[in-house]
């Protein structure tokens, strides 16, 4: 049994200063096989972006990685120290939400892709340029040879996102982490980029981890999904099954807040209350103040993620059997 392309165990991140620290990612574990995709879904502030940054060891200064392990095809990657960047080069890549700030405005698009192809791939300048054009073509940029000379500000949002994907692919990674890459895009462009990511996943056998606040987007590209709340996973499983019948009240709430275009006319139902800030978590299950099923047991003691019935599903809820289908 080959090791999964990416395996993360008990990753924990905290933020704060010398006197007080709060957990923002709390013992998160997941694994993704080559050629498969995992979605991480949650509201802003749930810790989903920080989880990816923890895996990349790219956390902001105030955030500290407290514990956990990240393993790539069986080999453990360091989470601290100077070797983190080198250890991930050519194996793990990440794309971000805002392509405008991820691209350097003073260099043409092609040059930015070529630079990575040269440094990580060890190619000559000429070979790297050729590779850059290949990649720009692969990501669906028409007239790649000509557009490689364009500067980021000359490109539309969708194209910039494609350039960023090309840059990520230039290092020939086995795993691609995606942090809300389509949130800022128009819906037709989003559809194109999602199709692109999906076909790249299949063709290049990439392991994809896709973070989003949009359940419908995750549904369209991820076979498995993990729902995140206040720094922890509260439910995981195959996307279709999970959405058809959620087992955690928060997942149900997220599901009901989305209006499919086909369900037009049904008012979306919102979850009362708001996500708690780190450091202001209630005792017991972090979701309990907003939960219709909460009882005393939920307010005391911890609730862990446990497997639930059908294969591959896990829930962190004491009342998972009472959660109805939406």
């Amino acid at each position: 049994m080959t090791a999964p392309a990416l395996e993360v165990r008990e990753l924990a991140l905290s933020v704060g200063d010398r006197r007080r620290r709060w957990r923002v990612v709390d013992r998160v574990s997941f694994a993704v096989e080559a050629g498969r995709s995992l979605g991480i879904v949650g509201e802003s502030g749930s810790g989903k972006s920080l989880t990816l940054r923890g895996v990349m060891a790219l956390t902001p200064a105030a955030v500290r990685i407290d514990a956990g392990s990240v393993t790539l095809a069986g080999e453990e990657l360091p989470l601290h120290g100077r070797r983190t960047r080198v250890a991930r080069r050519g194996r793990l890549a990440m794309i971000f939400q805002d392509p405008l700030s991820a691209l350097d405005p003073v260099h043409p698009a092609g040059a930015q892709v070529a630079e990575i192809a040269r440094r990580v791939g060890g190619r000559s300048r000429r070979a790297a340029w050729v590779r850059a054009i290949e990649l720009l073509d692969l990501v669906g940029i028409r007239e790649a040879r000509r557009r490689a000379h364009d500067y980021p500000h000359q490109l539309s949002g969708g194209m910039r996102q494609r350039v960023m994907i090309a840059m990520a692919l230039a290092s020939e990674p086995a795993v691609l982490l995606c942090d809300e890459p389509t949130t800022a895009l128009d819906v037709t462009v989003q559809a194109q980029v999602l199709d692109l990511l999906d076909s790249l996943r299949a063709e290049l056998r990439l392991a994809l981890v896709f973070v989003s606040h949009d359940l419908a987007v995750v549904r369209s590209i991820c076979e498995e999904v993990a729902v995140m709340y206040a720094g922890r996973f509260v439910e995981t499983g195959p996307t279709a099954a999970l959405l058809e019948h959620p087992r955690h009240p928060y997942t149900l709430g997220l599901r009901q807040a989305v209006v499919d275009v086909d369900d037009a006319g049904r008012a979306p139902r919102s979850i009362p209350g708001e996500l708690p800030e780190p450091g202001q978590l209630p005792p017991g299950c972090p979701f309990n103040p907003r939960c219709t099923y909460a009882d005393d047991a939920c307010r005391h003691g911890t609730v862990e993620l446990e497997s639930h019935g059908e294969a591959g599903r896990a829930v962190a809820c004491l009342h998972s059997d009472r959660v109805p289908a939406p």
């Binding site: 037709t188 462009v189 987007v217 275009v261 708001e274």
Partner: protein, 324 residues
């Protein structure tokens, strides 16, 4: 609807801008729409469609090149202060639309005072009432925007808009910068306020799901023109313009259905580079020779007065309508 005068009537709105190269770029080209009291209309379009320009023109932030904008039947050219009250705007970015240095109370008081909507002893009570209408505690009045989350700031922006008791709210992508679940709350708030306060709502979005949730009528824009309009259910079930179809196909769904036809490619050309004939023909899966030559007019569909589409083939029903 054959009804009382619409609250808002826009006819032939045309707006152009000077580009950096000193050319005139047509951002909005002859757009017309109507909105009645208590009605919500969704204006759908992607970047470059001109929808934000339409919103700003309606709200009086810019002067159109030509066209009529009428409020309750009276033309709005030079807007007086009371004219300005009638149409309010809610913006997309909750982090930029509130003055970072002012407390909420100050912003609301100023509006109430300037328009004479509450006498001094009543102003505080009215501020508290506005906060509760949007679901925020009275304590929020003492704070500055930085204390609030995105969803909460949008509520404050909505409170600011309803403070002057408008007839119509134009919401320009009000939930695009928010999480889906938070956005659902804001949309529900719009819907509730619309019925409680008998407001008209013009909801502008590139996200069909947002429009699907709360709008009675829908108009779809592409490169400055309306390409389809009609009752929401009819347009979504049986779109008559290929662009509308493409938008529906592209929308991510919780319950996926096999999509009809190929995805449209590329992106809209920049406003200055409008294709000849039908502006959509270069991306349209249905395009034929006539589409390259002739730009289709916005015409009634199947003879129904409430539905219209600007396509040479608009009378063909959408094959395989979606079952509801």
């Amino acid at each position: 609807m054959g009804s009382p005068t619409p609250v808002l009537s826009v006819r032939g709105l045309t707006v152009s801008f000077a580009s950096a190269q000193r050319e005139r770029i047509l951002a909005v080209d002859g757009v017309s729409l109507q909105l009645h009291a208590g009605e919500s209309v969704g204006l759908v379009g992607e970047s470059g469609s001109g929808k934000t320009t339409v919103a700003r023109a309606i709200a009086g932030l810019l002067t159109p090149d030509s066209g009529k904008i009428e409020l309750d039947g009276t033309s709005l050219t030079r807007r007086s202060r009371s004219d300005r009250r009638a149409i309010q705007l809610v913006f997309q970015d909750p982090f930029a639309s509130l003055n970072p240095r002012r407390r909420i109370r100050g912003v609301l008081r100023e509006l109430l005072h300037v328009h004479g909507l509450a006498s001094d002893p009543e102003i505080e009570a009215r501020c508290v009432e506005l906060m509760s209408l949007v679901g925020l505690p009275a304590a929020a009045l003492d704070r500055r925007p930085a204390a609030f989350s995105g969803g909460q700031r949008q509520r404050i922006a909505i409170a600011r808009a309803i403070a002057v008791e408008p007839r119509l709210i134009v919401a320009d992508e009000p939930v695009s910068a928010l999480d889906v679940s938070v956005g659902a709350t804001i949309l529900a708030l719009f819907d509730r306020l619309r019925s409680e306060l008998d407001l008209g709502l013009l909801l502008i979005s590139h996200n069909l799901a947002a429009v699907a949730a709360i709008c009675d009528r829908v108009a779809v824009m592409y490169l400055g023109r309306v390409v389809e309009e009609g009752p929401r259910a009819a347009v979504f079930d049986d779109p008559r313009h290929p662009y509308t179809r493409a938008l529906l196909d592209a929308a991510p769904r919780l319950r996926p259905e096999p999509s009809e036809g190929p995805r449209i490619r590329d992106e809209a050309p920049p406003a200055g580079a409008r294709p000849s004939g039908c502006a959509f023909h270069d991306r349209c899966p249905r395009a034929e020779e006539i589409c390259r030559r002739e730009s289709p007019e916005l015409r009634a569909v199947d003879g129904q007065p409430q539905r219209a589409a600007a396509c040479h083939f608009s009378n063909e029903p959408h094959t395989g309508g979606r079952a509801r």
